[in-house]
C-alpha cells in the first residue's frame, strides 16, 4: 500500500507533469481520507453487496481518483502511464465497467447524486442500511438542475445513509449566495458542515460525525463541503 506522500508520484505517471495545478488536486485529499479512513470497501470487497459506495460524480480531472485507487491497489499501478490511450481502461472520465472499484461511469455533470439516491434506497430496501453511499460533486456541478431534484427529495424522505461531499473551489459562475452550498442543502433538511478540503483530520471527523453507526442524531442525509483553493 502506498502512502499519501506517494500520490503526487502516481499522478505524475498519469499526466506526465511533475507539478500538479490545484485544480488537478482539488479532490485529492478528500479522496485519500475517504479511501484511507472512511470507506468500508477494499479491492477484495468491490463486489460485496454490503460495501460502502463511493460515487465520483464530478468525473473530469480523474487523475487524483485513479492515483488513490491505484495506491489502494484496486488496480495495478502499471495502468497509470497509459492513461487515455485506446488500450487503457483509464480514460478522461471513469467507466465503471472498465475499472475495478469504480462504482459509476461519470463525466456528464449532475448524474452522480441522483443515482446515489437510488443506490441508497436500494441498500435500505435490501436491509443493507449499514452500508453508506458517498458521492463527490463539485460546486459548479451543482449548477445542474438534476441535483436540485435529488437534494430536495433526499432531504424530504430523510435518506439516512447518504453523504454528499462537495468540493468547493468557487468555480460556479453564480455561486450559492449567502450561506453557501450548505444553506442550499440545509433548507431541504440535510445536516451540513464545512471543513478545509486539505485538512485530513477535519475531513475524517466530518465524515465520522455524520457516518452511519456513529450514533449521529441527524437522521437525514448529510453534506460535507470541502473548501479548497480557487481555480483562479
Amino acid at each position: 500500500m502506498r502512502t499519501y506522500a506517494e500520490l503526487p508520484g502516481l499522478m505524475t505517471q498519469l499526466t506526465g507533469d511533475e507539478k500538479h495545478e490545484p485544480s488537478a488536486t482539488s479532490t485529492l485529499d478528500v479522496l485519500w481520507v475517504l479511501y484511507d479512513q472512511v470507506l468500508r470497501v477494499s479491492p477484495d470487497t468491490v463486489g460485496d453487496p454490503g460495501r460502502d459506495r463511493f460515487l465520483l460524480s464530478k468525473g473530469h480531472g480523474p487523475a487524483a481518483y485513479y492515483a488513490v485507487l491505484a495506491a489502494k491497489e484496486f488496480f495495478p499501478e502499471s495502468w497509470l502511464p497509459d492513461f487515455g490511450s485506446a488500450s487503457s481502461p483509464l480514460g478522461y472520465h471513469p467507466d465503471r465497467s472498465l475499472v475495478p472499484g469504480v462504482e459509476i461511469a461519470s463525466g456528464s455533470l449532475g448524474h452522480g447524486l441522483p443515482i446515489a439516491v437510488g443506490v441508497a434506497h436500494g441498500l435500505l430496501a435490501r436491509g443493507l442500511g449499514k452500508a453508506r453511499v458517498y458521492v463527490l460533486v463539485g460546486d459548479a456541478e451543482l449548477d445542474e438542475g438534476s441535483n436540485s431534484e435529488a437534494i430536495v427529495y433526499a432531504g424530504a424522505v430523510g435518506l439516512p445513509n447518504l453523504t454528499v461531499v462537495a468540493i468547493d473551489n468557487q468555480s460556479s459562475t453564480y455561486g450559492w449566495g449567502p450561506g453557501g452550498i450548505e444553506a442550499h442543502f440545509a433548507v431541504s433538511g440535510w445536516s451540513a458542515v464545512r471543513v478545509s478540503g486539505r485538512d485530513h483530520e477535519a475531513l475524517a471527523s466530518a465524515f465520522r460525525v455524520t457516518g452511519a453507526g456513529a450514533g449521529s442524531a441527524a437522521a437525514g442525509p448529510q453534506l460535507v463541503v470541502a473548501t479548497v483553493e480557487s481555480k483562479e
Binding site: 453487496p49 441522483p114 443515482i115 437510488g118 443506490v119 441508497a120 434506497h121 436500494g122 435490501r126 430536495v152
Partner: protein, 300 residues
C-alpha cells in the same frame, strides 16, 4: 374492460409482493394506483414527486444496488425529458430497468403536443441494450411485464402502454405471429394497430403478422414470411419509419419494397379524439387501406 394501465399497476403490485428485489419508481403519475402496494412496501414504492430526471436516475441507482426497478410515467416525460438519464444512468452504467410508459403517441390527443411522444421508440432504439415491447391488448400486459422483469439480468425493457387496443388479445411472443396468410405482401402490424390493419386488408391477398416485441426485431421471422412477394408494409403506432432500418437489415440480401406507416413528423396542431388523430395520420382502417392498395397498385 380493464385498461392496460390498471393491469400494469396490478401486476407490478403483485411483483412487489412476490419479489423482494422488485421496486417501483414513480413521479406522481399513477401514484394513486400504487397506494396499497406502497403501504405494504414503503421502501420499494418510491414516488419522487414531479422529478422525472431523478426518477430515472433512482431506477439506475436501485439497479446498481441489486434491485429490479420498474420506472413509470407518461411517455414524453419518461423518454424525452429524462433522455440523458436513460442513456447514461441506465444504458451507460449497464444498469437495467423496466420503463413503462402510458400516453402512447396520440392517446393524449386532446392534451396537445406536450403530452405526446410518438418519437419514444426511435429514441429508445438508439440506446444499446433496450428491448421494446408494445402490447396491443390489456390481457397481454401481465405476461409482458413479468417477462420484462424476469429478463432484467440480461437487459432493460421499454414497455409502451396505450389506450388504443385490439378487439382480441393474442398470446404473447417475442416472434412475429402470423394472423392470416396471403401472397402479395407481408403486413407487419405493431401492437394496437392489428385490428385496424385486419379491417383494412380484409379482402386483400396479404399476410398479416402481429408484432409486440419490436426490439429486438424478429428479422428471421420476417425473412421466413416475406418468401418472395418482395413487398413489406410496416404499420407502427409511433413515428413512421421507426423500424424501417430493422426491416432493411432483415432483408439486406433480397430485393424488396417497403412501405412504412406510422405517425408523421409534422405537428398536427389539432385536438380531438384518438380516433380522429388516427384518421388524420392515416392509421385508421380506411387510411391504412388507402396506403396499402396504392403501394400494391390495386384499386381500393
Amino acid at each position: 374492460m380493464t385498461d392496460m394501465r390498471t393491469v400494469f399497476a396490478e401486476t407490478a403490485s403483485a411483483l412487489l409482493d412476490e419479489d423482494p428485489l422488485a421496486a417501483v419508481v414513480l413521479a406522481e403519475i399513477s401514484a394513486d394506483m400504487f397506494g396499497k402496494a406502497a403501504a405494504r412496501h414503503p421502501d420499494r414504492v418510491l414516488n419522487v414527486g414531479i422529478r422525472e430526471q431523478l426518477m430515472v436516475s433512482v431506477g439506475g441507482g436501485l439497479a446498481l444496488a441489486g434491485m429490479r426497478p420498474i420506472v413509470h410515467t407518461y411517455a414524453p416525460f419518461l423518454v424525452e425529458r429524462a433522455y440523458e438519464q436513460v442513456k447514461l444512468d441506465l444504458g451507460h452504467q449497464d444498469a437495467h430497468a423496466v420503463l413503462v410508459s402510458i400516453g402512447a403517441s396520440y392517446d393524449g390527443s386532446r392534451m396537445g403536443r406536450t403530452h405526446q411522444a410518438p418519437e419514444d421508440v426511435a429514441l429508445l432504439d438508439s440506446v444499446p441494450g433496450f428491448s421494446v415491447v408494445v402490447p396491443g391488448h390489456p390481457a397481454e400486459v401481465e405476461a409482458m411485464l413479468r417477462g420484462a422483469v424476469g429478463a432484467l439480468d440480461d437487459g432493460s425493457t421499454y414497455m409502451r402502454l396505450s389506450t388504443g387496443v385490439n378487439r382480441e388479445a393474442r398470446s404473447v411472443s417475442a416472434s412475429l405471429q402470423v394472423v392470416r396468410s396471403g401472397r402479395r405482401a407481408v403486413v407487419v402490424a405493431v401492437g394496437p394497430l392489428l385490428s385496424p390493419v385486419l379491417d383494412a386488408v380484409a379482402d386483400l391477398d396479404v399476410t398479416v403478422a402481429y408484432a409486440t416485441t419490436v426490439r429486438p426485431f424478429d428479422a428471421s421471422g420476417l425473412r421466413a414470411l416475406e418468401a418472395g412477394s418482395g413487398a413489406v408494409v410496416l404499420v407502427e403506432p409511433y413515428l413512421a419509419g421507426t423500424s424501417s432500418h430493422a426491416v432493411a437489415a432483415a432483408l439486406t440480401s433480397r430485393p424488396h419494397r417497403l412501405l412504412s406507416l406510422g405517425v408523421p413528423r409534422a405537428e398536427l396542431r389539432r385536438y380531438g379524439t384518438p380516433a380522429e388523430h388516427a384518421a388524420f395520420h392515416g392509421l385508421d382502417a380506411a387510411g391504412i387501406r388507402r396506403s396499402v392498395t396504392g403501394f400494391l397498385g390495386l384499386t381500393s
